[in-house]
Amino acid sequence: MTLADALVFIPVLIVALTLHEFAHAWTASLLGDDFARRQGRVSFWPGRHLSLLGTLAFFVLRFGWGKPVPVNLYNFKRPKRDYLLSSLAGPGANLLTIGVCFVLMLLTRWTYHFGPTGAVWMGLAHMMLRLLAVVSAILAVINILPVPPLDGSKIWPCLIPGLKPTLKPRTTWLFLGLLVFMLYTGNLAPIFHAAVKTITAVMPVSEGKRVDYLAKQARAAIAQAEKLLDDGHDAHAADVRARAEVLLSEGLAINPHDGEMRYLRAATRSNLGRHEEALGDIERAIEIRRDDPIYYQWRAHILDALDRPDEARRDRETARALYRVAAQDDAPVPRPPSRPATAPGRSSGRSGRGEEEHAENP
């Protein structure tokens, strides 16, 4: 885990853990047991719920735990039922958190509706909510495992008639050792992966995430078209390009201000022979980003195809000048694509542009 990951992940984990433990304490108090309240656990202050050992373990073992909420079953009117409810409250709070996150994610998914600064904040908020939902799902799942000292181990004795809702501490420690071993060796990973997969499959997707996904799919299609062309399957390549164009159009319908997608669609449309539409796209891309020489080079190529050589020449000169500026700035010099007529995919990523060299007249 990088420092940046930790800076995002740790606050989210603390929030999820605090809500989980608070729910246990609050529910117990609601059902008549104020022992946790006496210990200051009916609180949203994370310091009350963090365990020193559990926090240290997080940095060493990559998983941690909060301080268990003490419950006095003698204070419950119906010990089994009330202990069951207070035990379920933790995972229940995590499920509720997921629900709240989903609602807030629905509100923050409109990434591009609040201007460029708004998009950054909305994107960040959506990402944090997404992470909180995922962490809450993992917490809920791990806690319903019927292994002491997890909540699940307290739930099943309350459901089986004749069993007492208490376990001997020695057994608890034995199971705790087993649980730590299973977590450390990754034996529980499939369960967590299933939880994460399920939750991400149903969670609201932000516009930014959708655009990223579409751009990724489009790039993959463009790369596939390239390969098909190399193998001589021209007709199939055209189909794949058409698919890429649809994906890019969908992405641009969400965020019309994405210069990179405009450029990709311009190249794709140009390669499909739809030069007029391609020209519209590349001109919009240049409006969005005026210092990218490759955009000018593509416009030159499209203008050539439209039989407008003077304008194409001017664009090539602009591109050349921009390359020179980039070289003077000691920046890595981007190079023009060798085959713009066939390979927008190769030049779509910044690194891809480095493959081609000094082919100003495709």
Partner: protein
């Protein structure tokens, strides 16, 4: 200050972990390790755990002295409350009262021992069983005590209810205790209540469940409970059987029963 406390707690952590591990095979070693954790970390809870462990390996008087020494070294509400409970158990109510006041000054104990000792002090000042019963009920109404304290209060209330002829309440109290965890003492009280009401089958079931307890304890409780419920013959039988297991205990019980009168 917070940082210093955190560093202390970090340093104490290995001792606490080792103390927990040692608890599985050596209570004496566990007590020493928790004591070391308390010395380093100065957390009242660690001191309380150490004292509770020492109670298993040392006499009550020795632990009481140790608690007083610990209080002098690093005063804490949890230890003061524990020392008060020990003083109260030893019948030294004046010292118990002083320690309860000290615990309150130090910020209240997290377990609710102070409330228990206060109740015991108040109960010791009244010979009237009904008044003791009222005091115990008032304490049982509190909802913020630790499970250990609650269990003691409920048990004491259960015995008072039995001795006062409130058999139905004693039965409900025993059933409530048993709904949480196995408790041979509550089983014996329940058995007695059933026997008193002529429910032989239920009484036999309770007796079977209480069979896990050491025979001397079981017979001791049965003798007391039967006497309190006015089942003289049953009490005498239990006492006779107890003599086979622990003659000295049987003698003490006999004296205790004589002090209680003829039961109901």
């Amino acid at each position: 200050m917070v940082l210093v406390r955190l560093v202390r707690q970090l340093l104490a952590l290995p001792f606490s972990i080792l103390g927990t591990v040692a608890g599985f095979f050596s209570p004496a070693l566990a007590a020493k390790l928790y004591y070391a954790a308390w010395l380093v970390g100065r957390a009242g809870q660690a001191g309380l755990t150490a004292l509770a462990k020492f109670l298993h390996v040392e006499g009550q008087d020795a632990v009481r002295l140790r608690a007083m020494a610990m209080l002098t070294r690093h005063p804490s509400a949890a230890i003061a409350a524990f020392a008060a409970a020990l003083a109260s158990a030893a019948g030294d109510m004046a010292e118990a009262e002083g320690l309860v006041n000290l615990a309150r000054e130090l910020g209240g104990d997290p377990e609710g021992l102070t409330e228990l000792v206060e109740h015991e002090i108040a109960a010791s000042r009244t010979p009237d069983l009904r008044e003791r019963w009222r005091l115990a009920e008032a304490l049982a109404d509190r909802r913020d005590l630790s499970p250990t304290v609650s269990k003691m209060v409920l048990s004491s209330l259960m015995w008072l209810e039995l001795s006062q002829g409130a058999f139905d309440r004693a039965r409900r109290r025993a059933e409530h205790i048993l709904a949480v965890a196995d408790d041979p003492q509550a089983e014996i009280v329940l058995e007695t209540v059933h026997a008193q009401a002529g429910r032989a089958a239920e009484a036999a079931r309770c007796a079977a469940r209480a069979a896990a307890a050491p025979p001397a304890n079981r017979l001791y409780w049965r003798a007391l409970a039967s006497h309190a419920a006015g089942l003289g013959q049953r009490s005498a039988d239990a006492l006779a059987e107890l003599r086979d297991y622990d003659a000295a205990l049987a003698e003490r019980v006999e004296a205790q029963l004589a002090g209680m009168g003829d039961g109901r």
